[in-house]
């Protein structure tokens, strides 16, 4: 576990020094809001019904940007082979990168949530804790597969194209579950009413993280 932690420590340190990813994602989140406004029009009542979908669309788009860059620091510093050559179980590197990505995604999602309440007067009311559960479960699934596919496409020529093309279809069920669950939660329904969606998300988290940990060695081999 110390090895996974040191990977997170390194990524956070590099991020704090270079501040590339977080600034870019914050700016991108802001841009998304403008684009949604311009493309869907200012009329709030009409948008109310689609807010859960819009929220998760914003999460997915900024996620694609953020997750796609998981191994950029390795590639730019030419450290990919260094990771491969350090002896010991490679899944610690996956867990470290996954934790870093999860943190990054949750920060961006928090920012987006604030922006949504501001721009779309999304009234969270008492629903915040329930919403946090849904967002948490959904983001773990998204980050788990995203980190694995980021490693896979990091070495490939057309990685910007291949990453979303591979990730989005796999995320379709998670997206269905999270939007449906968010919709119910925002309508004030108790978590119990979406228990089946939450069970699906939990199952997806377990499956994706397990597959990620087991197959990461083969992907890192590059």
């Amino acid at each position: 576990m110390r090895r996974a932690f040191i990977v997170v420590w390194k990524d956070l340190l590099v991020e704090r020094r270079s501040k590339e990813t977080l600034n870019a994602l914050f700016f991108f989140a802001l841009l998304l809001l403008f684009i949604f406004q311009f493309s869907l029009g200012p009329d709030r009542e009409r948008l109310a019904g689609t807010l859960p979908g819009l929220l998760w669309l914003a999460f997915i788009l900024s996620g694609l940007l953020g997750l796609g860059r998981t191994f950029v620091v390795e590639r730019e510093n030419d450290c990919w082979e260094g990771l491969l050559l350090s002896p010991g179980d490679k899944s610690a590197i996956y867990v470290g990168k996954l934790a870093g990505n999860l943190l990054l995604m949750l920060v961006v999602e928090a920012i987006l949530l604030v922006l949504f309440t501001f721009f779309f007067n999304l009234d969270l009311g008492g629903a915040l804790p329930a919403l946090a559960v849904v967002i948490g479960l959904g983001t773990v699934a998204f980050a788990a597969v995203g980190t694995l596919f980021a490693a896979m496409t990091a070495q490939v020529r057309a990685r910007e194209l291949l990453f979303p093309v591979l990730l989005l279809p796999v995320q379709a069920p998670v997206l269905l579950a999270t939007v449906k669950a968010t919709e119910a939660v925002l309508l004030g329904e108790p978590l119990g009413s979406v228990a089946h969606w939450l069970k699906l998300l939990a199952a997806a988290d377990v499956v994706y993280v397990a597959v990620g940990v087991l197959t990461f060695d083969f992907v890192l081999e590059g």
């Binding site: 694995l148 070495q155 069920p173 269905l176 199952a203 992907v219």
Partner: protein, 215 residues
């Protein structure tokens, strides 16, 4: 050897056609358009069979690095995508007269469409990586992730759709259908499975020859 399988497949396909058009009765409510089911349902079953083979072959490749397992996964994925595409095409042709539109977000059509896109990504990944060994390894990982994803797709799509309308008539629950139709379905399923085996065998052999030619 494959010539023999080819011959048997042709015979089985012919038998399937005879069952589908000759013996099976004209379906009461839908009329003859229902006969598309003898094409649509077996091809979706074979598609799932193909993706199950991709899963097993991918795991085998990662464990033993046997080139043959990789070629089997590749061939089976490609034939699987072929049958998935066929399922979607025949499903939408069926949809036109029965629901009046070429495409409806019906539970089964949607999940098959997601599989189609997912495994198309698999073929795209293989095409994009020049180094054969790395491509095989990444494809194996994707083959495993995609296969584990299938049940999630199924549940999410069913819950997503069935809250509004019951699963479509195309649900192949054999229980609710008269025996003769079920046998017609099974004959066609056997025929399609043989076709799958034939295609995979030839595609895998083609891959082996290409690998040998590349030396």
């Amino acid at each position: 050897m494959t010539r023999l399988v080819g011959g048997v497949t042709l015979a089985a396909l012919a038998a399937g056609l005879v069952m589908g058009f000759g013996i099976a009765p004209r379906e009461a409510t839908q009329g003859n358009v229902q006969r598309i089911m003898y094409l649509h349902v077996p091809s979706v079953w074979v598609a799932y069979l193909a993706f199950a083979v991709v899963l097993v072959a991918s795991i085998a490749y990662l464990i033993r690095r046997a080139e043959a397992a990789d070629r089997l996964a590749h061939a089976s994925a490609e034939v699987g995508v072929l049958f998935t595409g066929l399922t979607i095409a025949t499903g939408s042709i069926w949809g036109k007269p029965t629901w009046g539109t070429w495409w409806t977000w019906d539970a089964r059509l949607t999940s098959v469409a997601i599989l189609f896109v997912m495994y198309l990504g698999y073929l795209l990944l293989r095409g994009m990586i020049e180094d054969r060994e790395r491509g095989a390894r990444f494809a194996a990982v994707l083959g495993i992730v995609a296969a584990f994803n299938i049940p999630l797709v199924h549940f999410s799509v069913y819950w997503w759709r069935t809250l509004h309308q019951p699963p479509s008539l195309m649900k192949p629950g054999p229980g609710t259908m008269p025996g003769i139709i079920v046998t017609a379905l099974l004959v066609n399923f056997v025929a399609f499975s043989l076709l799958y085996v034939y295609f995979v065998a030839r595609r895998a052999r083609l891959l082996r020859r290409e690998a040998e030619a590349a030396g």
